[in-house]
Amino acid sequence: MTQQQTAGPPSAGHADLAEEFLDRQTPLSRIRNILHRYPALSPAIVLLIAVVVFGILNERFLRVENLSLITQQVAVVGTLAIAQTLIILTAGIDLSVGAVMILSSMVIAQLAVSNGIPGPLALIAGLAVGLAAGALNGFLVTRFRLPPFIVTLGTLNIFVALTLLYSGGSTVRGSAMPPVLTWLGSTFPIGPVRISTGVVMMILLYVVVAFILGKTAWGRHVYAVGDDKEAARLAGIPVSRVLMSVYLAAGAVLAVGAWIQIGRTNAASPNAGVDLNLDSITAVVIGGTSLFGGRGSIWGSLLGALIVGIFRNGLSLAGLDVLYQTLAVGILIIVAVSIDQWIRKVKS
């Protein structure tokens, strides 16, 4: 290295100066670099501030029952956010997550109640529905090279229609279902706290997906494909196969989400969850995952889902109208994306 410093032409000295000037770090750019390195850090800070502020505003907020309620309220969106994160990491977006989950939940409930199929088999059928939906999305994205936004906008409508056609628009009540279907709505005590099995299932999914994304070659390829598809292809990564597997994995997660949803609402309703697709995108975006792909952390999405749940819960405890909750979530989204844009400017 010393050799080439002396070997450089005379103008190299000026270039050095210019580059040093560009490299100089201000405190702000240092913060940016840290946030850039740990994408879950900014949502973690927001979550902490929100908890403190709402805790001061209303002493009921920090009570164990209330915190447990918040986690139960975010269990479904938090699960959908896992599927959404996987797809957004590949620079895609999935508008059909809510519709797939509802379709899967209706199939599970109808098969068990109307067709008398045993609960576990009905759940497996629900998983098959999730996988089939994922396969359809993945096929259209990889084979026809259609933008994921358009593909899932189309399949969103298709799945909503299929759900209504299949269910005849009627809700299946939890009391009519085999117990295994509503099992994720049950709670169990740990000390004074009642923990929901649905929340445990969601956290379990996060742990599994975090492991796969962080510790396996597949996870690394998901990031690489979202980061720069062409660079990934030239590095020898089978891009289409990775994309297809991401949509399949998302479909499987959504089927588990369907199970959690049945437990949480103690019913399977074809009209539930119309805007869950947007809620899941909100959680992912607030969680610091970039809509441009290749950047983000699965834990950030859990934090994002919790932040939305905490804002809704805290604002309603503070006695504010539901309108203000929606307003706050809207502002959160824009702030989160602005921060993402700012973070992405690191030395570009």
């Binding site: 850039h36 720069d228 990564i237």
Partner: protein, 264 residues
């Protein structure tokens, strides 16, 4: 190296590592390559220059498996090969650094070096749980960078986008050098770089050559070409107009041959 020494070292006593004979590639009515032959010997830097549309890229693509030539033969270490895709060339030890598309920005240096050929942990953790050997890959990445003399890149956990253009190019070159056992092909490696960064990359090219790894360098930049190349293959109108050396010809001569103003 004088002219006589040079030609002495490249006579029939040495077998070319990569040998192309009469490559022809047409795109519809357009003739991209019109019977091009090329030899790459061990331990040399062969520059390929030519005007736009002269067939430079097509030649390189045929050598690295990105395009399949219509006719003509390709030999690696004397053995005939037929590349159908870039992976085929890679299997034969030919690594290519593509212009601007070299690395995955959000991934760190070590992940980029091993991208597409990650190593798993030994035992059950690797085979059943498919866990990556992150520590091992980082250690090897560091060793590889040290071996290449890339001392500015000691922290292999930095995302590549935090690096300067020259350092990014160094990562891409290091990846090629780490896995390219026979030939490294660099497509315009200094095109987007500043003066100091270009010098770093050129030094890296020299280091590769000194380690015995032959390099094919595609470049528009005449000073860079004349700085590092041992021989220069000049493409013109789909043919090899001449193969010269920096000693036998000046830059002006090379440009004249490239544009057809002079014959070799």
């Amino acid at each position: 190296m004088t002219m006589t020494e040079f030609s002495a070292s490249h006579t029939a006593t040495r077998e070319p590592i990569l040998k192309a004979r009469n490559l022809v590639k047409t795109f519809g009515r357009v003739v991209g390559l019109d019977g091009v032959s090329l030899d790459l010997y061990p331990g040399e830097v062969l520059a390929v220059i030519g005007d736009n549309g002269a067939g430079k890229s097509t030649l390189i693509k045929c050598l690295t498996g990105a395009e399949i030539p219509d006719t003509g033969e390709l030999y690696v270490s004397g053995q005939q090969v037929h590349f159908k895709r870039p992976q085929d060339a890679r299997v034969h030890g030919i690594e290519t650094v593509y212009q601007n598309l070299a690395v995955s920005p959000a991934l760190d240096v070590a992940s980029n070096l091993f991208l597409g050929r990650e190593e798993r942990l030994p035992g059950l953790l690797g085979s059943v749980f498919r866990m990556l050997d992150t520590k091992g890959m980082r250690r090897k990445a560091k060793e590889e960078l040290t071996r290449l003399g890339i001392s500015t890149l000691q922290d292999v956990t930095v995302p590549v986008e935090n690096l300067s253009g020259g350092q990014r190019q160094a990562v891409a070159v290091a990846r090629a050098a780490a896995f390219g056992s026979k030939v490294v092909v660099l497509d315009e490696p200094t095109a987007a770089l500043g003066v100091r960064e270009s010098n770093q990359v050129l030094q890296l090219v020299r280091d590769l050559r000194d380690r015995g790894l032959p390099v094919i360098l595609i470049s528009h930049n005449m000073p860079h070409v004349f700085d590092v190349a041992d021989r220069i293959h000049i493409q013109r109108l789909g043919k090899c107009a001449a193969t010269i050396t920096p000693q036998s010809h000046s830059m002006t001569d090379a440009v004249a041959i490239m544009t057809g103003a002079a014959k070799a």
